[in-house]
């Protein structure tokens, strides 16, 4: 008798357990799926492909305002502008051109307007080997000193190339030097990086190297 009583009790307990399970399953009492992490969408500024500057050639091609390049609107023809230097013999940028910050070359080398600009004809550049170049040919000016980079740029290995790798299938553009580099201060300033990656189930511990060198 005892045996069958025990069996009865056990079977009743099992039935009860199944009933509890049924309720637990239907009401999803445990095992809720955690909601997906709220990751903010990236600022569209990070995925746009425009260059930071626009070269004279691009402005001219898209028929935009070129008045910035009208030097003789202020300067007198035939009268070369006077360059002023401070007591350390560093060029003083005139008030009218105060948006220009000179930084082309370290240790104040190359901080001389007439290294690139022709003082007798402000609408042209001059190279060291005596060539006269138009504003739209500025890349040749850069290349007259920066030979290896110019060679790479010509081959498409330096700077931005966009459009089609397969020239037969479509247009291909190569940006001029000044589309990316400010000619008076060519070194790229630092910029804010786009957001860092998010790891699934991230536990919140910072990455190890951020804590110190090993």
């Amino acid at each position: 008798m005892k045996e069958s009583e025990r069996t009865s009790i056990v079977l009743t307990i099992i039935t009860g357990a199944f009933a509890v399970l049924t309720v637990a399953f239907l009401f999803n009492i445990w095992g809720h799926t955690a909601p997906l992490p709220q990751i903010p969408l990236v600022d569209p500024a990070f995925i746009q492909t425009k260059t930071v500057r626009t070269s004279y050639a691009e402005l001219a091609a898209s028929k935009q305002d070129l008045s910035d390049f009208d030097c003789y609107g202020c300067h007198e023809k035939g009268k070369p502008p006077i360059l002023r230097f401070d007591d350390k013999h560093i060029l003083v940028v005139p008030e009218e051109h105060k948006d220009i910050v000179m930084g082309h070359g370290r240790n104040n080398r190359n901080n001389l307007c007439t290294n690139c600009h022709d003082e007798n004809n402000l609408e042209h550049f001059q190279t060291r080997d005596g060539r006269e170049l138009k504003f739209s040919e500025s890349s040749q000016l850069c290349g007259s000193c920066h030979g290896p980079t110019f060679r790479d740029w010509n081959a498409g290995a330096h700077g931005r190339t966009s459009g089609h790798w397969n020239r037969e299938m479509g247009a291909f553009t190569r940006k001029d030097c000044v589309s990316c580099h400010n000619p008076h201060s060519p070194k790229f300033p630092g910029r804010q990086p786009a957001p860092a990656p998010h790891t699934l189930h991230f536990t919140g511990k910072p990455s190890p190297s951020a804590e110190g060198e090993h």
Binding site: F18, A19, W165, P197
Partner: protein, 318 residues
Amino acid sequence: MSDHPSNGERNPAPDADGMSRRSFLRMSAVFGSGLAALAAGLSPLRELQNFPSLDEFMQKYYKELTPAEMEKVLKRIELEVERQYGIRPHVRDLKPIDGVEFAYCLNLTRCIGCRKCVHACVAENNQSRSPEIQYIRVLQMQNGSMDMEKAVHDYNPEKVPEKGHFYMPVQCQQCKNPPCVKVCPVHATWQEPDGITVIDYNWCIGCRYCEAACPYWARRFNFTKPTIPKDRLNPNMDYLSNRPRPQGTMEKCHFCLQRTRAGRYPACVEVCPTGTRKFGNVLDPNSEVSYILKNKRVFIQLKEELGTSPRFFYYFDV
């Protein structure tokens, strides 16, 4: 212990102690409640989205589809995407161009670690924003060392590049000898003639063996249904590349084949502000990549010693 007939069969002849009807009721109670628990246990399946249609379930392997069958598949995918995102995409199946083998050169002198490539890739290729999937991972390395253990993945300073570091973006290297292709149990991933290792998202069983095999941590898994914001969906899609991937399948960089097989640069190349990334046909002697491989001198192929023969060449500018 003698055996009894299995439950459910009534034993109308009660034995001496009259237990039989009770035992039948007992067993029915157990079975009944057990079946109820079983049915209730299956209830989370109600939350299943996108259960595959019969067409999708029975879909043949990519390489076995006839052009007519492929048309039907592409149409089906277009309709599915329209239903889910409200935008009718254009899904194509671009074939590799003859005489083309892609190579990628990455100039480590120039990379500033801005991560624009990471996000341009996400936008172009309809990757999941949450859980976040990014094919490109930019490592902030320490000057003088290629030790990736010292690399930082989640750097977030005010300005990059930071002094003392160089930046190395890593994505699928499209190896000539890919370990992922070797280990896939169902041939869901393979290498195409133009060098791109592709995945048939409708064939992958999600075992993640390829993810374990990849030495570059280049492959990603869809742990759940991807979240793509409707207003950022790129409707120019390709079957093997940037169409929205199903839950439970693998994905990875595919050199934007929806662009590159149409002759265009991948999104990462287009957006890079410093011209670090160079891409093209290595079989064309006039391409940028051929020029770089011919004229630069210090090259790094990541984990070269593993014999994977990557098509990705990192170089420094001398």
